[in-house]
């Protein structure tokens, strides 16, 4: 059976590479992009089942990346991560079509649950 493929877009390298390993330990294939631009680029060649996207990044912000993903891959579920987001940020993301909004620090089991949930619904 094919593994679930996740694209992680987050500029905090130490955070995201550990997250990648933790997901792989749970039999989820993850690839890392360290900014929005790289994320959008990786999307075309990697075609993940789901994207995990940080809200605050230098360059393209999470919101802008989310908009572009919605535009080009309207079916692709996106889970947002935020370090210090307000309720308003959460609402904006959900309005723009994100399927979930998680606050850091992140509970890995919750994230895995969201990933499963997002993909079973959308795919």
């Amino acid at each position: 059976m094919n593994k679930l493929r996740v694209l992680l877009i987050d500029d905090e390298e130490a955070f995201v590479t550990t997250l990648q390993e933790r997901l792989e330990l749970r039999d989820i294939e993850a690839r890392v992009a360290l900014d929005g631009q790289q994320g959008l680029h990786t999307l075309t060649e990697y075609s993940p089942h789901v994207v995990v996207l940080d809200l605050r990044m230098p360059g393209l912000s999470g919101i802008e990346v989310l908009k572009q993903i919605r535009h080009q891959w309207p079916q692709l579920p996106v889970i947002m991560l935020s370090g210090h987001g307000s309720k308003q940020d959460a609402q904006t993301c959900l309005d723009l079509g994100a399927v979930q909004y998680h606050k850091k620090p992140l509970d890995i089991e919750e994230l895995v649950h969201s990933l499963m949930h997002a993909t079973s619904k959308g795919w």
Partner: protein
């Protein structure tokens, strides 16, 4: 109501002037020498002081200097009998807003009071603007610090999770495994503490739109209560409120008052604990000040701690329970708006926090405080 302090060693003059000002609806205190003047200034915080320069004891200029150091917003009108212009000039340099030669007509005195009051209100609103700007800068700083701390904290928590994952994979002696897990749990708890502090710092952001930020104080209180509805529903707390009409005008900064009332409410809820009790908020007008009190029937605060509770990072709650920023934030916001906050407490009976704050300037101008100063028909000379 405008509060005036008349200072003159000529008792008859001082008494007559005080009485006539009272008939114009002002609250007037009278001092016959410098010492009395200094005491009354401390106790009554007059808006405007009518000050004779030549007096036994501390003279007018000395009092002026002390007063301006203590409360730069209070306006001082100098009364001088001697015609030496140099004394008056010195007085103006020391911050007096006007000077009148004796004998001065009552009309002239009223006119000077009127102008001084305008000046005081302008100074007050300029000061508030400057403080708002300071607060905005502080908010930005807090936000920056919060973000800079949050990222490493998230990384730490994530790494803790990773180590826990690895523990699942690698078989280990049960004792060692337990010790490592305990340490990891501690790290996680401490990270959560950091997170609590940074989220407090993030709430210090100032209002983005100062106009839409203005609401009535009862609305702001209701919102603060609503945000804590979950917590309140779990305790046996009864909330009471009473407001005079000044508080029903939408002239109160929501951002600042949400911080002040929210933190005081949290504090009251902490004091009541699960046992519950009553929390009562009242708003009344006292002269040109708003007096807001929040009383709880909780465990009270020990006397020797009362002076310290507004210090940042001072907390009487158990480590990890309170971070000691709530009341410090309250204090900061109240001071930045030109007010002060105090507390009275009886162990086992509860605490009352009292905020005294200048009324919003628009409210004062809407009211009679200034209007009574329109030029008088009376033409008597003192």
């Amino acid at each position: 109501m405008l509060t005036i302090l008349v200072v003159d060693d000529e008792v008859a003059f001082a008494d007559v002037l005080s009485q006539r000002l009272r008939t114009r609806g002002m609250q007037v205190f009278t001092a016959y020498n410098g010492h009395q003047a200094l005491d009354l200034m401390q106790a009554k915080h007059p808006d405007i002081v009518l000050l004779d320069i030549t007096m036994p004891g501390p003279d007018g200029l000395t009092i002026l200097q002390t007063l301006k150091e203590q409360n730069p917003i209070t306006q001082v009108i100098l009364l001088t009998a001697d015609s030496t212009i140099s004394t008056a000039v010195t007085g103006m340099k020391l911050g007096a807003s006007d000077y009148l030669m004796k004998p001065a007509s009552f009309d002239n005195i009223l006119q000077a009071i009127h102008e001084a009051e305008q000046k005081r209100l302008n100074t007050l609103s300029r000061k508030r603007m400057a403080e708002t700007a300071k607060l905005a800068a502080l908010g930005e700083l807090g936000k920056g610090v919060a973000h800079e701390i949050n990222n490493p904290v998230h990384i730490m928590v994530n790494e803790v999770g990773w180590i826990e994952d690895l523990l699942e994979e690698i078989p280990m002696n049960a004792d060692t495994d337990k010790q490592i897990r305990n340490s990891l749990q501690l790290i996680r708890e401490q990270a959560t503490r950091c997170k609590t502090i940074t989220s407090k710092l993030l709430t210090l952001r100032p209002a983005t739109n100062p106009v839409s930020d203005l609401h009535t104080l009862p609305t702001i209180w209701d919102k603060a209560v609503h945000l804590r509805a979950n917590r309140i529903s779990k305790t046996k707390v009864t909330l009471h409120q009473s407001w005079s009409q000044e508080f029903q005008h939408p002239l109160w900064s929501s951002t600042s008052w949400m911080q002040i009332l929210g933190n005081l409410l949290d504090n009251a809820l902490d004091a009541l604990g699960l046992a519950g009790g009553d929390i009562t908020i009242t708003g009344q007008r006292q002269g040109n000040d708003a007096i807001v009190t929040i009383a709880d029937t909780g465990h009270g605060i020990e006397a020797h701690l009362l002076t310290r509770i507004f210090e940042p990072f001072f907390s009487t709650k158990d480590v990890g329970q309170g971070i000691g920023l709530g009341l410090a934030i309250c204090h900061g916001f109240v001071e930045s708006m030109g007010g002060d906050i105090s507390v009275r407490s009886t162990l086992g009976q509860g605490s009352v926090f009292t905020i005294k704050m200048p009324l919003p300037v628009n409210l004062i101008q809407k009211n009679t405080g200034v209007k009574i100063l329109t030029p008088a028909k009376e033409d008597a000379n003192e």
